[in-house]
Symmetry: D3
Subunit: 336 residues, 6 copies
């Protein structure tokens, strides 16, 4: 059983219900989520040995968040207690032609204020096969960026493969540095990168190119700078999402190994129950796939996992390997 470590923030998610706008809500649905945690849950659901590393505040809210980690048999041995508050995000679920909206309230969270030399990375990465992080963590604060780099370097030194989901969030990055100042160095260690070309270019400080992902021939050229910047890079992957409206998405994915392009089939996803976490579901499916399956099946698995996430409320992709694999052959009837 492969051991995969993910590192990031675990937040309380407070979401409006029954299509209400924020001003209508008299109660908010409470779950817990965060990109890298979401990935860890996917991996645990697929039977891998997933470990999640974070810092939670030592209060009732932090402890409640920890219960959710335990629930999914994600290893929590290196989750520390400390800091002042649990990061929160408020989600207003959209529908039809009204977009969903997120209000982040994660400044000064337990993870945003963590400092280097807090986590015991040597122990954490012992026997680990893979380390996953995302562009959200270095976007939180300088110290969070520092700790991310610290983790990456130890992982690298111990021969652990490293994946990054670029995950650019414009509402973060409030601490005075631009993404390219920070991400460029962090990305250089990557084995696998998930993200579209323009986000990758943006994080490397390059100009946008508005790539055409159906133009297979050009993609090799466009990805080239990424492979050059990241000397260990095995794969780049991108989910291809076409938003017809909030309730109707068209979803596919591609995987590129520097030479060959693997393309999954495209799905009509309608209606959408909850889109948040679907990128993490893709990432979780991809890590599983790249560890357990051939490349073509890996991208198929990642895309199907992403599709299924749209049918499940909350951040987490509560699906099994079997369910993801079954999607490729259809589905939709009551099982009885």
């Amino acid at each position: 059983m492969k051991k995969i470590v993910t590192f990031g923030e675990l937040m309380m998610r407070l979401a409006t219900q029954n299509n209400e706008r924020f001003g209508q809500a008299r109660s908010l649905g409470l779950t817990y989520g965060g990109g890298e945690f979401n990935v860890a849950v996917s991996l645990a659901n697929y039977g891998l040995n997933a470990q999640f590393v974070t810092r939670l505040p030592n209060n009732d809210l932090g402890k409640s968040a920890l219960e959710e980690v335990n629930r999914f048999q994600v290893n929590a041995d290196h989750i520390l207690f400390g800091g002042d508050r649990l990061g929160v995000y408020f989600l207003e679920q959209g529908a039809g032609l009204r977009a969903s909206s997120v209000v982040y309230d994660r400044a000064n969270s337990a993870l945003a204020t963590v400092e280097t030399n807090t986590f015991d990375w040597q122990t954490i990465f012992k026997n680990a096969d893979w380390f996953h992080w995302s562009g959200v963590t270095p976007a939180l604060s300088q110290t969070a960026a520092d700790v991310t780099l610290e983790a990456i370097k130890v992982a690298k030194s111990m021969g652990v493969k490293i994946s990054c989901d670029l995950n650019y969030r414009s509402k973060l990055w409030q601490y005075g540095k631009s993404p390219s100042e920070v991400m460029s160095e962090l990305l250089a260690y990557s084995t696998v990168i998930l993200g579209d070309i323009d986000t990758a270019y943006f994080m490397l400080g390059k100009e946008k190119v508005n790539p055409d992902y159906t133009a297979t021939n050009e993609l090799a050229n466009l990805y080239k700078p990424l492979f050059e910047h990241c000397s260990n890079l095995d794969y780049v992957a991108t989910s291809l999402r076409n938003s017809i409206n909030t309730s109707h998405q068209r979803i596919g994915g591609i995987l590129f190994d520097g030479a060959q392009l693997f393309t999954s089939k495209s799905y009509e996803v309608s209606y959408v129950v909850d889109r948040v976490g679907s990128g993490d579901a893709f990432m979780g499916g991809l890590i599983y796939g790249l560890n357990e399956l051939p490349a073509q099946e890996a991208i198929n698995f990642a895309t199907a996992a992403c599709v299924l996430k749209h049918t499940i409320p909350g951040d987490l992709n509560r699906v099994s390997v079997n369910e993801v694999e079954k999607l490729t052959t259809g589905g939709g009837d009551v099982q009885r």
Copy 2:
């Protein structure tokens, strides 16, 4: 007012809410349903004299189930109390590309353990015009199969028309007999059979043929063995359902009298509120139609009733004759 008797199990239905998966549920929606009861409720809603026969446990849950029977003015005079437990089924509602899932917990239920000579069929079928049963009841246990045969024979002897919804459920049939061993004899008495050709063939012990229901010419040949096996058979009917995904169905129906094929229009059903019970809604519409309308209108009515069921939560089709008939001319605007 025609008197129609249906016989089968009435279960507690416990369904996840708000698109939750089983592992997320902190409450379950509680309703009551079961194929033959669902048919009886449809018929009562259409103004017929519907009688439902079953056995319920003599505890608070059985009594609560009985309240639901009364509520719809379905005659409950021959519902008996006895046995150990109320059958339960757990329903996880799917959405989009995630299928719904049922966990049956109906073994050793009050009906599954009922024995012959329990119900007073002579009295039950007095003045009855029609008896409806389905392939679910003989799938429960040997004794349930025996009691079904007992009922059918009495009905036949009293000149009552007999309809069967084949309703094959692979998760049932756990008591050691194959469907064809049991159903073949039971079906022989039928006046009307609802089911697709391959299920019928399977229950007669014949090989599957994957029929093309648009090839009208072939259908007469394919249905022939059914008409031969069932000497009193007036009609076979099939709902034609194409599942785009869990939330989007395409629904039509055909009715065949051994010579002429009657085809209803096809409906796009999106989005689907609750698909469970839609086959029973079709059956209920069909029995109403075959008793009150010409054949073409009967299949139109059955299909429209089935379509409307998809918009109503729970097993039961809470619609009137007027509402079903209105569907053929459109609808969709607020009535005010």
Copy 3:
């Protein structure tokens, strides 16, 4: 900041939840709404000085309704307390091929029983730029029709522009007069009329013509009688709605100034969260647009406002100018 006065009934709305039919409901969602109030809330949300005039019963329900008026910063200075009861409407939300259904329970409401010389229209219209009323109010009772005429005449005498949403409701008009007997005189003062041609014709006592709204050339002719009847008429507008089913609407709009036709783009609206109040959202957008924008942008704004309403539960269109304007450029992604 333009001052817009609207006058009409504010009702308690009691709606089934989770797609339930009336007979299934064990609780009803409680909000407050009414066509002219809904328009006032839209206008307040867009930053205009909206004033709503009505009469509410002096009991806990009337006071709760008033809280909703205050909530949206709609001016309530001329809302009076009196009469016996709050009007109520019960809403059964439809889905897919099942239409929504409204049961009105507004007879003898505080507004329906109001008499002339109750409201101080001279003070109400002081500094007002616009007065909006709809065909619902004169449909309630003779006295409500009388008070509407009273208001219109004062508005006219004070140079206030007057808009009317024809809003024909066949379940109202129970007091012995036909719509054309009453509406013909009331409409004559209008600056702006919202409604389709046949409803307008019906209210002027003319025969239906089933106009083709895509036949631009003909429209001028068809609208001519309206402009002749209403000597101050600047614009007629119509929302163009095509109901695929209850959950899927196609929505556009046109605005005609007697000479030039302005047509908005058409939107696919799927799925529909709540259609009630979407006409009022159109009206609210139109009044805003005609006060603040060129004609083409006004109809674009009205149509987009109407579209967004379909995504929001309740009667009220909780959207900002910014959100309406953004719809024209797309949307549908999570904002984070």
Copy 4:
């Protein structure tokens, strides 16, 4: 099995939930109730043949109300459809030192507007043993009072026993007559009267006397005018309720046959789940008791039934004979 007929209004009850005040409610719990219906349900639950007579509007709300009647196996054969609207009452549940509050919205209801010669009382009272009415119905309108008298006279002529729950509601009686003008005649036919002495005096047009119900000796004198006015009177009963606060009641009861006083034990009822309908629960218990038990046991049963009602949400007393009888010997432990 004794046949008991009750006659009165069946209303939709809309109650605030979770201790909310009206202004806080965003949904209201929907049940159905009405004094005489509540009594009928109690009697059906106790195994008697209960028949409820009323008029309901012929719309979805009236039909939903009828489902509730059927649910409890109360005979609905003489419930008519007609009139304009279903009576509604809004309930704000109190707690601790905040009283509950009711807003009636029952003017012009289907029952309030019913006229004489509508119900077929001869058929209704065929084989009936008992007729129950209450002071609420004649309080609705002159015609409702007339129909009540009509029913009473037929019942009397057919030898049916007649009980009345005085049930004075100061918010009713709005049609121009005082209670004593109307009730005096109606009460004269009574076999059993439920109500305190001062309410009875008030309805006979006599002055209040503030009786001391523990002064057994005086009670005979105080009840004397009642026995004189009602020549057939067998019993008067009064529930003795001491409201410590909304959540804590002290409850007992007395029954007087003109000579002997029967007193039940007194119960501490804390906390109170729902007090509405507890008087009807007392009445239902009393009618059952006077038909099936000796007088002392009858008052014991009525009081215990009243006590149990306080633990059950809604108007209806969902208890069995067995449960009421068990209360006298204790209770409070989980039954498992």
Copy 5:
């Protein structure tokens, strides 16, 4: 109509429901509250001209909070938008022998980071009769303390009466100053102080004395230092609360004018729906009373208002003058 200004933080309150602990919650009830806002709502409910001053973040959450201010007709003209986040507090409702628990998450809120010269106090206090603040605001941050002093000084200079609720919260005061360093100066301007003697002593830097509030004679001595420190002090008031358990409180109050002690009756409050905000309800009742009633009636009113708050969910005391006054004469019966 007296004009009363209150100043403080308005927070989002997220409370567990149905007696759940934090770890069990899957949704949280959302309301808005804050001590000084709660007081303003009480005063508006009592018909006074209440103005609330605060700063809210310019996002959807801040705007939703503002809707609540408007709802209650509290004047919001001087509520500013700015800062980064809305303060939040999480409430776990206790029951019986389990205490309620609050997790504050209000650091760096829009109000905590406000600076002097932000609010236009001269305009705010124009025509004002009273200014109310509490010990919570200076506990938030140095700048919040500074702004409080700024407000107090302007109020004083304009002849506005000043009340303070001492409201010591040990979980606040995290910015490096002790309460006595800050509060001593602020309190000196007070006309009315609400709080127990030991809290007052603590804020003046004096030792605790554990006073016996029934020893009327001693109280004059004990209050003396307070009157000496605050040269304008007219009254000190204290609510006397005895917590039998979380669900059962005993509540009274005293008011002292430096010479005479006014004592209200004591109430048993059981069960408690929601205790949060009951101190603010006392304060609101006291300000109303001191402005409109004689001293004895003022303390009676304050205590009864406090008692009623325990029956209402949320921070706000949704009661009228009439309801508070009625409590003194009893209550507890359904009003119908």
Copy 6:
């Protein structure tokens, strides 16, 4: 950290909400519980190394139950998948003078059908300090009794202390043996027994004696047969519960070591949120206490833990050591 093993059934609990009776419920609250699991969760919450052993069905319901075990960091390494169904119990929550009611539906559950030689007890008890079982498991079936004996013998052979909660449930024991036939042998190995004297006598086949637990002198005599039967018995404990009504309990506890009696203080518990699991909370507190505290403090801790359980919905006692200990010094105020 002491290792404590518990063995028993984990059931789905489906409970009515908001004081509803079974017949009123339209949804049921879903949690998971079972006496021995409840004890394990208490112990894990207190920081001990708790391991729970059971068998769950290999379906979605069994897996959801397992998530709950993981959530609380109870070791699940020896939970097996197998058997046909998850045991279920339906709970109707009582209130005031209406008792709660349980409908068990646990026949043929995964645990009831487990056979000997299924669990690897040698490994399970490795390094274990304590084994806890209850009288519920041998009441399920002969095989469950056999497996219990198997476990006890291995535990005994490995020097593990053994506690039993007698937990007599009259609705179980349906497989043909009387409790004394089975329990007598099982109990003989006990180190600690929880239960009242009469239940213990009943399980040893002795006559009831109705002991007076306040008569300290007699208790030694009464407990003597138990100490004689169980040669390793260190302690017997009994919770002393006086049920004023369902919502009001009086709770204390005693612990007896064969010579000395330790008595905890008695608590008034009002109102009761959820009584189910309070005996398990007592047991969990007792095991913790006997492992970590002197005898007097142990019984104090057990009683306080039991008291707190009454305030928490669900079977599980979600409290910490700190919270239990704090109860002895009071509580009831909001913590802020």
